[in-house]
């Protein structure tokens, strides 16, 4: 199996606080991996560091997109990271509230298209063609994420579960090889969580996108993940298959007080 994301020795300091402490992590092609850990462990900070939103204090982030050369991406701006094929969702939903569902997804196509101001004003053949492609591609993704009945709704008017799915749809529109999901099930009801489980599996199997997700819902994590990383105080304290993890005393200790089998 090819490693598609390799993180070495990643460290992030906020003033005196060390949010990430020499973290190593990798993701291989075609897997669903999960990061778990108590609140404040540094999981979101990890995502922010590898997607260019924060500039890590130390360490390296390397990607090897399928069929492409290995590349160092730390220090790149977030948009360059996305162009290179890693797209993410946010823990606190960050949609474009006053744009329609379709437009939200169309934004994801931005980095895969090219028409500029002059094209937009003259609206020549190539611009029209590109525009049509953007719309069709986006609509197709909405169908895959079962949001197509909401195309023209404003994002802010969507129910919570649909907003979470829209974030995933928007990230998929950038055609990533690796999708980073930050607590995709947060705030969902059991029914919505089941649908999410199915959606994530489908994304991996049908779109051949690998997935790295942060999640607190242990049932979802256990049923979906091929591998799990456990973080605490900015460090990786364990990694392995779901079975290894629930039997690992270190993990149980870190979670003391939190019900891991819930």
């Amino acid at each position: 199996m090819n490693t598609i994301l390799e993180v070495k020795d990643l460290t992030m300091d906020f003033g005196g606080l060390r949010a990430l402490d020499h973290l190593d992590l990798n993701v291989v092609e075609g897997e669903i991996a999960a990061i778990i850990g108590p609140n404040g462990a540094g999981k979101t900070t990890f995502f922010n560091c590898i997607t260019g939103i924060y500039n890590p204090t130390e360490g390296e982030v390397l990607i090897s997109p399928p069929g492409k050369k290995r590349k160092k991406i730390n220090g790149l701006k977030p948009n360059r990271v996305t162009e290179n094929g890693m797209a993410r969702t946010f823990q606190n939903i960050r949609l474009f509230p006053d744009m329609t569902v379709l437009e939200n997804v169309m934004i994801g196509r931005h980095c895969r298209t090219s028409s500029g101001i002059v094209g937009a004003i003259l609206r020549g053949r190539s611009t029209n063609k590109e525009e049509k492609e953007i719309v069709d591609f986006s609509y197709n993704i909405l169908k895959k994420t079962s949001l197509s009945h909401l195309v023209n709704e404003l994002a802010k008017n969507l129910p919570y579960g649909a907003q979470r799915r829209l974030e995933i749809a928007r990230a998929m529109a950038t055609e990533p090889f690796l999708l980073l999901l930050d607590e995709p099930a947060a705030g969902m009801n059991p029914q919505e969580t089941r649908e999410l489980d199915e959606l994530i599996t489908r994304i991996r199997d049908e779109e051949s996108i690998s997935i790295l997700m942060i999640e607190h819902d242990m049932k979802l994590v256990m049923s979906l993940s091929d591998r799990i990383f456990v973080m605490d105080y900015g460090r990786k304290i364990a990694q392995g298959s779901p079975y290894d993890i629930i039997n690992n005393p270190v993990v149980i200790k870190a979670y003391l007080g939190e019900d891991i089998y819930a």
Binding site: A87, R94, L95, D98, M99, H110, R112, T127, E131
Partner: protein, 404 residues
């Protein structure tokens, strides 16, 4: 009886507000001193006006706040907000087409029916429509609060005035130069400041705007200082110079043309790849970047494009008034254009047009308003932000149809 108690409570509240405002405005509104003659003028009638006015307004204020809160609740459970009558009319082709035809006829006939004075006012109003639409790209679409917009207007105006004064260049050759110069200035000023956070950006652009004005005021060798530049040529048609009256009409139609062109361009832009990126940037910068949009570049295009339009209108302004000086390019001018955008509705083309027409024409035709013009602009900004931040016309996003 609780209904009556409510009423009494309301009246009590308003009375308190009224007393508070009479106290608050007492020194400024009632007393006027003349320090030279050591005389004091007491204007008690003003206190009465303030008292009654604030008593009544406080009812309206509370009523509107309540209404807005109710509206927010409705929006939360997913009901769409109230659309305005105009919008409903415009969506209905049955009304829309005759309306457009009537408007076209009025617009064409206007200078031949009304006096030159009226035509001039209309031309000015159209200039503000275009300025508003230009600023709308920056503020309304891309969400960048540019408080120094007038700087680019000044660049355009001085560009024509100086080129005309020194080299005798005509209007038509300078118009594109003004636009390009506006664009270049937009890039130059925008590049260093656009990575700043929203409110800092506002202040920096304000600072740039004032610096440009102060330089124009003090650099006599270059800009002729506060006395400005006079005898700028009116636009000609090839080599043909118009009489004053025909020049006015000519300028009017020129502005109609530019307005239509601007509407066309902005309309195409806002539903394009770039336009969507601007709006996304306005909505959430971080998410926008994470979705692969180059923040700096996208902001810069919006900023520079807005500046281009200001540059163009600047050239026309110089040609229309034939005299310019730095006093025309103060912060208040930027604020005025901003309040047009705020009143009309950020991001809405129709809104900005209506906003500009209201704010420019109203003070011209109703003398009452003309003295209180700037007071009105200030109040509008506050009131709109408090009660209707989306402006009088809400921008409606394009809907797509799919047949399955």
């Amino acid at each position: 009886m609780s209904f009556r108690d409510d009423k009494i409570q309301e009246i009590k509240k308003s009375l308190l507000v009224s007393i508070w405002f009479m106290f608050l405005t007492f020194p400024i509104m009632v007393i006027r001193v003349n320090p030279i003659e050591k005389a004091v003028e007491w204007r008690w009638e003003n206190m009465l006006v303030v008292g009654i006015g604030s008593f009544l307004l406080s009812f309206v204020w509370r009523y509107m706040l309540k209404k807005k809160e109710a509206g927010e609740k409705r929006a939360e459970i997913g009901e769409s907000g109230n659309t305005f009558l105009i919008q409903k009319i415009l969506e209905e082709p049955r009304f829309c087409i005759p309306l457009l035809i009537t408007l076209t006829i009025i617009a064409v006939a206007f200078p031949f029916i009304f006096s030159m004075y009226q035509t001039n006012i209309m031309t000015t109003a159209l200039m503000y429509v275009v300025l508003g639409l230009g600023l709308n790209i920056v503020v309304g679409l891309a969400g960048l609060l540019d408080l120094g917009y007038v700087a680019f207007y000044a660049v355009g105006a001085y560009c024509y005035a100086l080129l005309n004064h020194h080299f005798g260049l005509g209007f038509w050759s300078v118009l594109p130069i003004g636009a390009v110069l506006g664009f270049i200035f937009g890039i130059l000023l925008g590049f260093p400041v656009l990575r700043l956070r929203g409110d800092y950006l506002a202040i920096v652009t304000l600072g740039f705007g004032e610096i440009i004005r102060l330089v124009l005021e003090n650099w006599n060798e270059f800009s002729f200082g506060p006395s400005g530049i006079a005898n700028i040529d009116r636009p000609a048609f090839w080599d043909f110079q118009f009489s004053l009256q025909n020049a006015t009409i000519y300028l009017y139609f020129l502005m109609i043309g530019l307005t239509l062109f601007t509407i066309f361009v902005v309309n195409r832009l806002q539903n394009s790849r770039i336009g969507r990126a601007w709006i996304a940037l306005r909505e959430d910068e971080t998410a926008c970047q994470a979705m692969g949009i180059d923040k700096t570049r996208t902001k810069l295009t919006a900023f520079a494009l807005g500046a281009t339009w200001a540059g163009m209108v600047g050239v026309i302004f110089a040609a229309k008034t034939t005299f310019i000086n730095p006093a025309s390019f103060t912060f208040l001018e930027s604020a005025m254009i901003l309040s047009i955008v705020v009143l009309g509705g950020m991001g809405s083309i129709l809104g900005v047009i209506i906003g500009a027409l209201i704010l420019i024409l109203l003070p011209e035709y109703l003398r009452v308003f003309s003295d209180y013009r700037m007071l009105l602009f200030g109040a509008i900004m506050v009131i709109m932000m408090v009660f209707r931040p989306q402006g009088i016309i809400t921008n409606i996003r394009r809907r797509y149809k799919f047949n399955e």
